[in-house]
Symmetry: C2
Amino acid sequence: MFSIGEFSKLTGLTVKTLRFYHEQNLLLPSRVDGQSGYRYYSEDKIEIARMISTLRELEFTISDIHEILSQYDDEADILQYVEQHLDFISQRMKQDRLTIQSLRKILNKEKEAMKMMQAAGFEMQEKEIESLLVAGIRMKGRYCDCGKGFAELGKKVGRYMHGKPMMLCYDTEYREEDANYEVCFPVNEKCRSRNIEGVSVRELPAGKCLSLLHRGPYDELRRSYEVLMRIVNERNLELEEFSREIYIKGPGIIFRGNPKKYLTEIQLFYK
Amino acid sequence: MFSIGEFSKLTGLTVKTLRFYHEQNLLLPSRVDGQSGYRYYSEDKIEIARMISTLRELEFTISDIHEILSQYDDEADILQYVEQHLDFISQRMKQDRLTIQSLRKILNKEKEAMKMMQAAGFEMQEKEIESLLVAGIRMKGRYCDCGKGFAELGKKVGRYMHGKPMMLCYDTEYREEDANYEVCFPVNEKCRSRNIEGVSVRELPAGKCLSLLHRGPYDELRRSYEVLMRIVNERNLELEEFSREIYIKGPGIIFRGNPKKYLTEIQLFYK
DNA sequence: TTTACGGTCTACACCAACGGGAGAGTCAAC
DNA sequence: GTTGACTCTCCCGTTGGTGTAGACCGTAAA
């Protein structure tokens, strides 16, 4: 006969846990001293304790263990419990996988944005941009409706996405209404052969551009455009058909309402 | 201003949850009627509620959310929280993966054993056995010491294991002590090229045998051997150097103490 | 015999994130 | 005024234990 402390050391279960299992009628002491209330465990309880810890390590609930131990004595008899439990754990793992995906997405998004910021700074730069495969949806109307376009694009080609969302602006001057633009995502090669309704997949040509990183809400973008346009005029550059806006950091997954930290790269291509 | 019920429908959070978040100072109503105690939420609380649900979906704790919302307003600021949380979830997933592995192992073991039992029945059979790649450790001593051998074998070649554990018995008669046997595992081809100290990897030749399924504890195996030996003598068969015991079902991972359900196949090879 | 010290006892509170239900009060429409 | 839907507070239950307080027990040294 072992005292509860000795039995605890033998089985690896804490004294508290042993008392709890006693209360739950899961692992009864062999004898309880009537006067002192001390619990005493005989050797044959060790095997039961081992079974219980094994089942707990497999994350069975106490009530499952209760049923299993009181009704069966062979693994073949509890296959339905095991299968059910396997389903349960698999379910949880699936959920965790999704959670991890989302968390990774947040991390990657922010880390990329930080890298971009450090690399670029907030000065105007002249850049040589390589050609870029994109999928886009042409839009007409207000700029602020672009969200719908991005949502649709996300549904249709989200899985091929390979870079930050962009906008191609076909207007030569700012328009409140009836603007002419295209929302698009850089996509990977798998998307090239796809023919998706309403979506244009094509390669944007390489070229030279003036680039400026804009920090702040979208309705202040005009100021950055003005800065760039002054330079264009000074240098007498001839602009290409459309400019690009690259949304390096927009509304986050968690925090959406702080446009002060939005980060947008404007690229004005010239010939 | 929305009543708690309306706000609940808008946000997808239950009324109970909203009251709980109020109690936790996480999502305060915009106004609480002094007399009736009714909670009223203004529109700007919707965004906060969305953030909270998003964070809860990502399985952040209430206290994490509290810190996050009260101190920060941009995803870049909470990267350390996200990373830490990612670690935590990954850890849990890793644990779950192990649990699932163990549960699958139990299922597979039992299902294989059941298949074998149904296929074989408990009659003596004549079988043609194909050649079999095994890894084995030669033992001398008592049969009941074979557990140590299997443990060592499991450590050294467990990852190549490809079938039920077996024993090769080199004795022509039963010996209590000083028995001469070899514990072994069938292994896959990856093991063939390995040179592992103390372990012999080789191909057991194909051949004909008398096979009998024995159900019950190992110390009753002799009875089944006797049954087989009578037939050997009747037919005047000449036996090969060693017989095989295949442990189709032995002590389980959970239940170990019911040898009545153990299942062992005895194979006596003859020329 | 007393005292010290460690082991053990019961009983209660606590964790996380709510859900259920009782009993009472409130709001808005008819 | 009444009805029915809504809301309030308060308390309990969940899961698998852990932490703590205050009392009791057992054994050995002084």
